[in-house]
Amino acid sequence: MDYLIQVIGSGIIQGLVYGLIAVSLVLIYKSSGVFNFAVGEFCTAGAVFFFILQSLGLPLWVVIPGFLLMAAVFGGLIEKLIIDRLIGRDPMAITLVTIGISSILVGLLLFFFGANPEIVELPLPDLTLEIGSALFISSQVWNGIIAALAMIALLLFYKFSTMGILMRATADSQVKSIVLGINARRILTITWGISAVVAALSGLAVANGSAVSYDMGIVGLAALPVVLLGGLESIPGAIIAGIIIGLVETTSNFYFGPWLGLTGFQAISPYILLLVVLLIRPEGLFGQELIERV
């Protein structure tokens, strides 16, 4: 029983973090049809920003807004300098460019940050949870809280704020927003900035309690089955799919893998689930169907 609580709890926390990375992907995909393969490096960059500010000895209430601001500027700059020039091209072409951006960022991170992992520890109150013999260490609990709060904040922002409504409008149709005098390009820049902030928060959640290294961006790959499962255009879908994938990974690690006698089964289990779901619902669990009136 305690074993089960441990597995489910870890799965949910892991899943929340995956979900947050997936949300970052969905934001960009919704607004421009581009799949941002550099999302993992966006996570790393965010965690690096956090590490840099923290190692300067700044207090936490400066470090947190500071690194989020840096991430926003970073995402906005990438859009402005690279993506903006490609607007009007096939989204697939831009998607391929993001693979290039990813490689360049890995190189830059290696060059400036170095190859040594650096320990990241959020100086927060101890929230270590013990349920029976199940143990959730404080940093793990905090990572779940950070991811959950970030998701709630983002959902509220996207649903109710004027900028959120404008982001949804330009995602619906860029031409229609332009003819109504909405500066769709500026909104796309802001969307990239916000996506980078979300990625930075998930990067922090990945690094907290362990370490940040230049090749941490590999977690971006973990978000791939999540977005495909949840549907590329749905933020709630990304969150729910994140939790599902997290649970699938931990349960297959603790139960199904040993039962099947396979080591490393948790790495492929999300893809098996994904395959089954896509066979039944090609648009993903919560994918947006085009509104068609009959």
Binding site: T162, L166, R168, A169, K176, S177, V179, I291
Partner: protein, 264 residues
């Protein structure tokens, strides 16, 4: 006043669509543009609103002057904001994933004045049907309601000129009549000029002060409503009247021969 002179437009550098179109839109007037499919009407609206580039189109020759200023190289967002031009696209300027409130809010987002709330009430008074659907996704509304919202969105930008691309498309005749009544009201009460591109010539002629007829990328006929309405060709080809009593025979009407005369 908007003056278009000798406009030549191509898509993808090779597909020539407009071959020297000249059109003048007077302030506060309704001007209609009639023409068959493929005549270049939508292209003209895209050029005017500045979104032509998005469709890979280019202006080769000619000019579009709004209040004396050349706009063919200007960014469409600036054209919309600075000159108050709003373009109601054929597929309706509605964001289907947003509800009615959000649609109207979005449309007003580029404005800096404080009358937004008042204008929203006015739009809802103009289109009472929208009131009942304020919080439902607009994509699920009927075609008529969507067209109303489309015009409502356009009004929220506080425009000086509305470009309407076949607003009657897909609407029942009674709705078309109602919509045109509302357009006349908007034109008279707010003094908003309109450039009305239509295939429904009968309805468009009733509301317009002035009209143009386009064929194959050229303006072949222009005049005031009275002039156009009394023109034999217009009556026969567009209004479906004229030549009364005679049998409507394809050969007798010599449609092709007479159309050629326009091209000359």
């Amino acid at each position: 006043m908007i003056v278009i002179e000798g406009l030549r437009v191509v898509y993808r550098d090779v597909i020539s669509v407009l071959h020297g179109v000249s059109v003048t839109l007077e302030d506060g007037q309704i001007t209609t543009l009639l023409g068959a499919n493929g005549a270049g009407k939508t292209t003209l609206l895209r050029t005017l609103s500045g979104v032509l580039r998005i469709y890979d189109g280019d202006v080769l020759e000619g000019s579009v002057k709004i209040e004396g200023q050349e706009v063919t190289r200007i960014n469409p967002v600036k054209i919309a904001r600075k000159f108050g031009i709003v373009y109601i696209v054929e597929e309706r300027t509605v964001f289907p994933q947003l509800n009615v409130m959000e649609n109207l809010k979005c449309a007003a987002s580029s404005r800096r004045d404080k009358d937004v709330a008042r204008d929203m009430d006015r739009v809802l008074a103009l289109f009472p049907a929208l009131k009942t659907r304020l919080h439902g996704k607009s994509g699920y509304m009927s075609g008529g309601e969507q067209q109303m919202l489309s015009i409502g969105n356009a009004l929220m930008t506080k425009p000086k000129t509305m470009l309407l691309d076949e607003p009657s498309l897909g609407l029942a005749p009674i709705l078309v009549r109602e919509m045109f009544k509302i357009l006349i009201r908007i034109n008279e009460e707010e003094g908003i000029a309109m450039f009305l591109v239509e295939q429904n010539a009968t309805a468009a002629m009733k509301v317009a002060h002035k009209g143009y007829v386009m064929e194959n990328g050229r303006v072949v006929l222009e005049g005031t409503r009275e002039e156009l309405e009394s023109n034999e060709d217009i009556r026969e080809f567009y209004l479906g009247s004229g030549g009364e009593g005679k049998e409507k025979d394809y050969r007798q009407s010599k449609r092709y021969k007479r159309r050629k005369r326009w091209l000359g």
